[in-house]
Symmetry: C2
Subunit: 543 residues, 2 copies
Amino acid sequence: MMNGLMMHCNLNIISIMRHAMTVHAEQEIVSLKSDGTTVHRYRYKDAFKRVAQFAYALDQLNISQQAKVGTLAWNTHQHMELHYAIPCSGRIYHTINPKLLDEQIQQIIGDAQDEVLLVEPENLALLERLYPSFKPFLKQVIVLGDIDPNLTASFPFQFYEALIQTQAESYPWPDIDETQASGLCYTSGTTGQPKGVLYSHRSTVLHAMTMSMVEVVGLHSGSVMMPMVPLYHISAWDMPFNAVLCGAKLVWPNQFAGQTDKMVQLMQQEQVDISMAVPTVWTSIKNHLLQHPQIQLKLKRAISGGSSAPLALIKSMQDLGIQLENGWGMTETSSLGAINRTALISENFDQQVVKCGRPIFGMQMRLKDLDGTELPFDGIQEGVLEIRGHTVVQQYLNASEEQKQQQANQQWFDTGDIATIDAQGYMHITDRAKDMIKSGGEWISSVEVENAAMGYHKVHEAAVIAVEHEKWGERPLLVLVSKDNQSISHEEMLSYLSTLLHKWALPSATVVVKDIPHTPTGKISKKQLREQYQHYFQQLSAV
Amino acid sequence: MMNGLMMHCNLNIISIMRHAMTVHAEQEIVSLKSDGTTVHRYRYKDAFKRVAQFAYALDQLNISQQAKVGTLAWNTHQHMELHYAIPCSGRIYHTINPKLLDEQIQQIIGDAQDEVLLVEPENLALLERLYPSFKPFLKQVIVLGDIDPNLTASFPFQFYEALIQTQAESYPWPDIDETQASGLCYTSGTTGQPKGVLYSHRSTVLHAMTMSMVEVVGLHSGSVMMPMVPLYHISAWDMPFNAVLCGAKLVWPNQFAGQTDKMVQLMQQEQVDISMAVPTVWTSIKNHLLQHPQIQLKLKRAISGGSSAPLALIKSMQDLGIQLENGWGMTETSSLGAINRTALISENFDQQVVKCGRPIFGMQMRLKDLDGTELPFDGIQEGVLEIRGHTVVQQYLNASEEQKQQQANQQWFDTGDIATIDAQGYMHITDRAKDMIKSGGEWISSVEVENAAMGYHKVHEAAVIAVEHEKWGERPLLVLVSKDNQSISHEEMLSYLSTLLHKWALPSATVVVKDIPHTPTGKISKKQLREQYQHYFQQLSAV
């Protein structure tokens, strides 16, 4: 093999900071304060001085080079600074969702063995509950804020602002090898234990570069980006790195993404032209704008992720002059792995626009049927979506020896989704593989049955799960919450669904319940439903 | 060190082809035929079938994996296909400028030891002259075109179209290691011997990704790009890779970039909205558009490189609705390394717009003064421009053992340019280091003196070189061609220049000549002038 004779420079996060400082030093970063009203405003050059200061602070606190440094924090300029100070000084940032259940947080931090935790003042109470189990590895707790004598805890802690203010403002950044770990995020996992995805400097920089392409996010120094997705969800879909690489103005909404009036006001005040959020947030904003037609926003692009935004929402937003673009990604794909730039769709708009979109550069996709045969990209045939790429996980952190061996050689990552891909590259997720019901050699999509059932006027919420069945292997069970406590019979549902679904997809039983269990992130907990109902048909026959 | 746990996928040219085929298979490539009038038109998916076919042909011809495959060819779809077939099958493409002098072509091909040469039919005559010296290493000559029985040579050759037509249309592309060499281009070198720059798959892909950013070139699938810079000049500034990565429509103008009417007609016909050329081509197009006000173009962006486009040209183009953007790069920087997106300039437009522009992501720059001290980026202090980056050469091909050892450890590449960089990152080249005159501890810019001299009404062309001087070390010598053979005295020039230049920068002598020597690429050959005049002052005193 003959090698090229070009320089090898590491694709590390320091290189993003360096470029931004050369070209975009004067760009603004705005951060909504915890009062929800006033803002903190400074420039890239100010931010990176503070980044240097916190890197010195970590050194002074004797935090080792491989240490994981956890954050339980909102979307603020401070949390963004941590995304540079920690990895650029050779450590690993670890974003943790403070809204998870205590057990989950305990499990995640215990698995990561974070040596430092940086928390918002209001999350100190959470640490108070969990501190005993962290004591063996936790060296420092730092509260993100100014000194506040009213804040107390049973364990020692420091204040971020006090810690950095005396430090020097420029740091001799090392040239970190691109393969080195830079960040850690756990899958929220609707099923099973949370699993840690350990990003490298290389995967992070390549993701930020790919996101910069016009048909992905395509920010530039004229953009004003407000990430409403939390930094604890895959670093707000890469915005600390991608937006800074592109020199965009950043607007951090603190913990107020759920407060529509605050968000709209902030967008107006800071002239936000692009933002990211889950579909429910966009629905609220759309409703707010419809109710207040006098509000004029500069918002042009609304990137949506987490789940697929429906056509009606996309069209309403379009009427308001805002392109709503579906994006797709996972913790395991460093956030965005596909995006639907609706402006590019010239034919079959209604059909194409609800899809997840086209893979970003470097993201390979393939579809496998039940037998493992690769399926063509015809937009029709559904298969298990497998992916491969620079920004895709190879192994989870702390995998067992057995898993490690298995994962080390795997060329493709199984997303667990069922999808189609069409000739233009548009990928469409039709279901989760584990939510598919394998009935007598045929696949039944639980999502399809759920969507059909949701159309019935008496149904408030519907979930369909696979339940063991003696004859068919699995059969669909329909679990319903009715509107206003109305009664719904199985026959009534069959009669409604029979015109909408193939015969074999009709549920074998209907159960009306008061509540359907949800995960902490608001999704239906199929796991809990399965545990509860897995022997439903056997129990029926036993009765 | 703790490594990240993400997949390692090679940054190779195959990944660009794969992405384009998934997402942009239907995009068009248009290529002006050799008649200069009709076009060849096909799609990415057709191009990549032919790419596979030529890869098979190379295998069948037993061309080894490390072979260098040279091209003496114009901007056509075939030449673009070679940019994929050769490196994606593990070989190294080597673009050669057919317009160089025979000795230079002989030297370059001899240094590269190309095993295959692909030539336009009209370049076969050139090969006929040089073939004997290539015989020891050259295995195949392939003419880019259909079988033409009228074409003959004293050596065996094949026809590209005949060679590929029987091959299979899909190829089992290997997963090439990203460090492997992919392409080769020699510096045209105004001084000294041409030197080979050996690009890697990694440097090529990273360059194509960076070019995709909005503030660099920022193409997308709605763009129509016509590269008027030749593919033999650093692969038309990366367009085979960058434009295809972005899914742009490509329009290849064959060898007709110098024929303004043809270019304007092609732009009109294909709705070209962005193009690249040297300033002289843009001047011709600007003049043509001024003379033909009825012509309506979609052209919005004109990227200019090779030398800096002057303010007057930029403003005239602006009046025509076209942004002319200066770019800067070298063979040693994989083409574009900085670009001036004029649309971003809000203050001091006239001053900023003529600069080379801001470094692309991954391109580091620093300025050194004569003592090697690093200078600040204040837009005022001039120093030697040194660069570092993924797309910067580490070593030249076939360097001597001594050079290799020296180059292997060099962190920074000395561009040989004298430049300033301002606080916004705008880099401005003020001179070539070797054209600077070191007079009594002061630097004199030959460009500054030349520009001043060019303002004199009797001067047609001016060149200033450093000439050895007993007292001052070096002193500027002014070499002039006068308008209409008028006589110009040294005193006359001094009197004119004295109000424009510092006293120490005034030339010590003026020589009026009939012609100033030029390089094959049209630049003044300072090398020849220096050879001729280096002892001018000594000779004067000797007389």
